[in-house]
Each structure stands twice: as structure tokens, then as C-alpha cells.
Subunit: 165 residues, 6 copies
């Protein structure tokens, strides 16, 4: 039997309960799964790459076959370097669906040997996006049910710091 390695890439700014649902269910599909955090997206991030990796490590430490890494450059180059053949992406019923398809098709064009597979985020997380969560945190709303506790704490700190500046 072949060893099945899957890559779950994203910006994770920050990781949400929706992402964690995909990790929980997705890791069963593979012998090994790497959560790959994009280091320097053009749009600025709220959390640094180190903070983002660290928050995911804390939230996923119970999965023996899951590791967390950051990467730079083209995703497909990273996937090749890891000898993985599969990219995993979560689709929310409410989601930037077309963007996902465009990215999957572009990646296939750039690297014919890499497949993208999609899983649907649980319906209870359908509305959870990093963007909305940051907005709620900024306005002082309750983050319970949206993100794991360690992320909730970090978000509160981040916005407190910003205000006090």
C-alpha cells in the first residue's frame, strides 16, 4: 500500500472551528497530514506566521498524524518537496467556491501529478470565516463556538493591544 500524504494549506489568520473540523475529519483520509501555513500572503495578516503556526499546533496536538509547517512560494512546489500528492480544501456551503475551483484548476495546470480534494465544512460552521471572526473580536463580541479557546484568548489580546496603542 502507498503512504497517503495530504497537505491542508491556508492562511489561517487565525484558525477557526471550521478549519479544525476539516482537520479532524480530513486526517482520517491520509496516513499523514500537514497543515501548511502560507507565510507571506500579499494582503497583510493580523497574526504573524509564527503566531499562526503556534496557534494551530496547540489546537491540533491531539492528532498523532498531523503536523504544522509554514511555507513560502508556490504551493505546488511545496507539495512536491513534501512528496505529497493531494491538497485538501474545505468548502463551506457559503464559501468563496469559485475561487477554490480556479485555484484547483490553476494548480492542476501547473502540476499534473497533484490532485485537490474538497470536503464540506460541517453546516454548523458554514458561516464561520476568519474575516467575520476578526470583525466580531474587534467589536468586542463573544467568540465562543467560533474558534478554540487558545485562539479566542489571542484575539482578545491582539485587539486590546491595538486599542491601547
Amino acid at each position: 500500500m502507498t503512504k497517503h500524504i495530504g497537505i491542508y494549506p491556508g492562511t489561517f489568520d487565525p484558525i477557526t472551528n471550521g478549519h479544525l473540523d476539516i482537520i479532524e475529519r480530513g486526517q482520517k483520509l491520509f496516513d499523514e497530514m500537514i497543515v501548511a501555513v502560507a507565510e507571506s500572503p500579499r494582503k497583510g495578516t493580523l497574526f504573524s506566521i509564527e503566531e499562526r503556526v503556534s496557534m494551530i499546533k496547540t489546537a491540533t496536538k491531539k492528532y498523532k498524524n498531523v503536523s504544522v509547517e509554514s511555507f513560502k512560494g508556490l504551493l505546488i512546489d511545496y507539495v512536491h518537496k513534501k512528496n505529497a500528492g493531494v491538497i485538501l480544501r474545505g468548502l463551506r456551503v457559503i464559501s468563496d467556491f469559485e475561487y477554490e475551483f480556479q485555484m484547483a484548476l490553476t494548480n492542476r495546470k501547473l502540476a499534473h501529478d497533484i490532485e485537490t480534494v474538497f470536503m464540506m465544512t460541517k453546516e454548523e460552521y458554514a458561516y464561520v470565516s476568519s474575516r467575520f471572526i476578526k470583525e466580531i473580536a474587534r467589536l468586542g463580541g463573544n467568540l465562543k463556538g467560533f474558534v478554540p479557546q487558545n485562539v479566542s484568548k489571542k484575539l482578545k489580546e491582539k485587539y486590546k493591544t491595538q486599542k491601547s496603542v
Copy 2:
């Protein structure tokens, strides 16, 4: 009979004939309706909060049961403070539909006692968005049919000022 209070929230930068269509038809659903102007959206606005509230007041003064206010912070906190139970949103056939659903679901998660209801903007306003209107105004196009006259005048002034600077 309960007193039905509805909140119609938005950025209204500026108010359009599409928004006014929703106000005209939406106010019939409620005993009292408040147009709630979000004070400080992260993305910069062309008009100040005072200008936006004032333009809406002028354009809606004929409705006895409609008032206009600005608000800060989370929409659901504002809705609670007003003892209203319903948020009204307009859906355009061509619209940021998924965004609306995500916001409605997030608000329901944050406050179970608040409902969001949607009305469809009349098809003749399906293409009218604040974003396109500002673009047309900036390029000197004709705004008739897109916005009420007081807004049209303000838009022309705004872009004249910007050019002369």
C-alpha cells in the same frame, strides 16, 4: 398585539434608490422602523457618518414611522438596546447574497432572539449599488434614476472638491 420594531442597517455610502425602495416597502411590515447607519466600517467611506445620516433623513422624511440613527459596535447589541427583534435586509437579484447569509447566520449565533428577514429589491434597481454609483459620479456620468436628487447633488459636490484639491 405586540409592537413590531424593525432595524434596517447598512453603511449607506450613499443611500440609493434601491435602499429607498426597501425602506418604502419595508416600513409597512413594522409599526416602527429604524434605519441604522454603521458609524465606522473598517473600509473608509466617501461620506462622513453625519453626511450619510443627514442624506437619509432628507430622503425619508415623508415616512412617519421611520427614524434614522447611527450606531457603533456590534449590530446585535444595537438591536437589543432598541428592543427590536427583527433586522431587515434587501437582497438584489444581483447581490452579495452569500455575504448576507453569512452575516444573518453569524448574528443568529450571537443572538438567538433576533431574526433577519430579507426583501427583494425591485428588479429595476437590481444593478444599483453604492459602489457603481460612486464610480459613475467620479467619471461625470448621469445619476438620474440611481439616487434621490439630494444625494445626486452631494455626490457632484464631493467629486468636484476632490478634483480641485
Copy 3:
């Protein structure tokens, strides 16, 4: 204050937990709400009009301001006869969204004084449709969580009868 009467129309073949969620939340918007069961849709129904009305009555008897009726002919004629001004429809995130909009626009064209408002079905019912439920019942699947108990019982009887014929 005006008396707010809302009509919630449908085929309800049979009523689901998704429909009941809309009734539960929708009745708060109105002083009086009528669940209006379309008598003779062109496509055949599994349950007769009497069975469908009866199942809804059982499932909604706890709501004092909710009544259940069948109707024939154009919906807008029925709405006029009831002196109601508002049609309520549920939108599922996964739904025949365009059909709903087309129907709302057609009804507005036919009767300018009637408004259609939409509420979003709770995300946990996003996938519940009468069509899927009948398919699951036909194949002997578990209906718990999809329909109320009285409907579940009726569905089992119906498919048992069909098989024994």
C-alpha cells in the same frame, strides 16, 4: 397599530422540521399567520391535501396565532381574500433560490400591494427537503431529525402500503 397578517404558502408534501423552524420563528413577525397549503400542484403529491393539512395542524397546534388552510388558484388571489399583505418564504442556504426570486417577482408584478419576505432556514435544516425525505423513507432510512414524529409515522405507513400493493 395595524394588524400584521402573514401567509406561509407551500406544498408541504410532507411538512419537515425545516418548515417548522420557519413557522416557529416566522409567527413572531406577525399578529396572525396562516400556513397555506397549495391544493392541486400540477406535479402529483404523495399525500392528499387533507393529509397534508392535517399533519401540519398536528405539528403546529401549540402556536395560538397560527392556522392552517388549503387554497386553490393563484396565491395572490388567496392572499387578497385573507386581507394579508405579506407572503413568508423560507430560504435554505442550499435551495431553489432562483425559483423563489422568480416567484416573488412574478407575484409582485401580479399584485403590487403584496410583499414577499424571506427568512433563512436554520443551518441544521439546510439539507432537509421534502424530496430527499421521501427518498430516504422509500429506502427505509431513519427519519429522526428530518420530520416531526407524526409525519415520520405517516411516511412509513405510506410506503408500506405502496409496497404491499
Copy 4:
């Protein structure tokens, strides 16, 4: 390492080059893959269950880890019986996307231990559907590029027979 078994279910009336693309790429994700042909969909099929299974067997015989079977009843019951944990579905950019999501969510509700994963059909097959192919065959059009040769031959025979009757 766990043995990864995937089920690729469908009506396959008949199998197309789009389906074969998913089988070709999907079988790499699993140690073993079963193409599961739904025996008795309510809507009539052009080809009998035996014909459909046989056409797929011919078209997939080069894959050592792919087998073809028919099934009756609920898909999830079949998946359980096979000790498989994953359902594979192809998504076409142009596709009954919402139907797929609804089915995936319903299946998850019925069986929490089964996951549905999606792969995107290659863009060159985005427009290939069994329904269009049958229509083209019926009108005597050229099927090259749409279906494998053995299926093309069977389609021509089928429609010749129908006409001569």
C-alpha cells in the same frame, strides 16, 4: 497504515469520459476503489443495471484496484457493508452543485462515520453530462470525446433499436 477504501457512486446511464477522468484520478487516493452503480433510481434509465455495470467494467479494466458493483437501497448502508469510510463525487464547474452538497449533508446526518470528498472534473469534461450525451446520440450527433468507444457503440445500437420499433 489503514487500508483506504473509496466508493464512487452514481447512476452512470451511461458512463462518460468525465466519470472516467474521476475514476482515473480518484483511484490514486485509495488503496481500493469501488464504482457503485445505483440499481433502481426512480427515474427510468436508458440502460439496464447489467448494461451499465458491464460498460463500466470494460472501460475500467486497466485499473487493478478498481472494481464495479451494483447496489440497492440507501448508499450509506452499502458503504457500511463494504467497510469503506469515504464516498467520492466529481464536481463539474458546471454542475448540480447544490444537489451534491445536499446529498453529502444528508448522508453525514444519516451516518456520521462516512465522509464525502469531491474532486473537480477536468475542465475539458465540464460540459459532459449523461443527459446531454443521450440527447446528442438520439439526434444522431458525433459522440467522439464524450464517451469511451464501447459506450458510443452501445448508444448507437440503443437508439437504432428504438427507432426501428
Copy 5:
């Protein structure tokens, strides 16, 4: 200069004001335009092919460069026979959009020399479909604004006949 011939195909069961809007605006794009009525769609039609052609002829007689014909078999074979290079289709904001794209891609695959171009139906006809119009006529609703007068008359006759049978 080349002579530009355009084909506007459909079932037209019956022709609507939305179709007439596309004919009015589309005929300006071509030196000659043929409204091509599909003779025998698999799904039964309310009006015979002769009735459908005749209603369109009456409604389009003012256009010198527009003719009306029926056709059988594959659309692309018909387009070739007419030495036309372009198929015109109307897109409604609310429309079977994916179906149109699938058909356009299939036709391009079958005949590389034929192009499909799309025009948007005017927003006031966005909700007008032959299917809804037949439903309204059947239930005795008012057809003004949906179809030309000659079609309205034919629809009433048709449903009167059906009832009296």
C-alpha cells in the same frame, strides 16, 4: 464586409415579451436573423410546432430582417445548413444559466466554427418564463406585460378548451 447571419433558437412554448426583447435588440447585431423553433423537444409542448411558429411570425412581422422557421435534429446541423456562424441566446439574471453554458460548450465541441453569443434580457423581463406564464394562464391570472396580445389570446383559448374537455 461579410453578411452576418444569426440564429435565435428555442422551444418558444409560447413566445414571451422576454424573447421579443431579445429579438428586438438582437436583430441589430446581424444583417439577417432567423428565429429557429425546435420542432420536437422530448418534453411535450402546450402548443404545436405550427402554432408556435405562427405566433412568433405575428409578433415579429415588423422586423424586415427577421424570419421564423422550425427545425428538427441537432441545432448545429441546422446552423450549418443556413450558412450562419452565430447562435444568439438570451440570459436572464434569473435563469438556467448553467444549462446555457453547458449547451454552448457542447455545441462548440460539436462544431468549432459556430459561436454562441449571449444578451441579457431586460431586467423587467427577468422573471418572465414560458413555464410561469403557462401556470398563470392555467390559474386564470392576468397575462398583460408577460406576452404579446396574440399569445395571450391563444393561451386563454388553449386552457378554456382543456377545461371544457
Copy 6:
């Protein structure tokens, strides 16, 4: 016969193989076609207006009836000045579809005598967008198949320059 002039507008930052596919096929619809490059979109462009026009000229020089120009201000004013009656836009299966419709409807409102027609980009270019291409170029990916050679060369130069600064 009337002279048919078509305008193909865009930002073209830079021109892609998807755009060139539309030009290749679109120019057959018209006696004369003008590729109209929007001079100063609000969002900054990677290439200057002169660079963009020049790249398109190089890539389209084989078409006798195609010319390339830049324009400022409202598109409809430019179309009027050119005595053209038709705007051509490409639709990708994966595309900012709603944006296109909104723009077409707004332009029709601003100028009733101008029509917008759409063609579908070939499915092999469905995922090619200027935005993705710039991202791939920035990360040093292979641009073959996405853009013509002269554009590929310019993109590499541009990003080399940016880095060395």
C-alpha cells in the same frame, strides 16, 4: 448592410490567453473591432497604460480588423464617440459573473442604444485570470499556456525589477 463595430473593453493588466481567445473568436462577429484599454482604473495596475496597449498590439497584430486604443472616463461615452453599438465581454464559466451583469445593466441604463454581448471563454482558459497570473509570476511559477510569450517576458522583467529595488 450596416458596418458592425464592436468594442472589447477591459483593464488587461496584462492580456491573457483567455482574452486572446475572445479576440480571436469575437472579431469574426464584427466588421471592425476595437480593444479598448481602460486608462486609469482606481485600483493600481502592475503595467502602465502604454505597456498594456503595446502588449496587446503585439499579440493581436495578425488580425486586420482589430485595433487597440486606450480610453478615459465612462465606457459608454467612448463607445458613442467610436460610433459603435456593441460592447463585447468574455464570460468565464468561473467568473465574476454578477459583476458583468451589473455592469451591462448599468451601461444599458446610461445608454439605451448600446448593447452588451457575451461570449464564453474556452473551457481551457476558464481558470486564467490576470490576478492569478500575476501571483504565479511573482512567485516564479511557469506562465506557459496562460499568456502569450511577449507578455510572459514582460512579467518576468517586471518582477525582477521589483525585487532588485
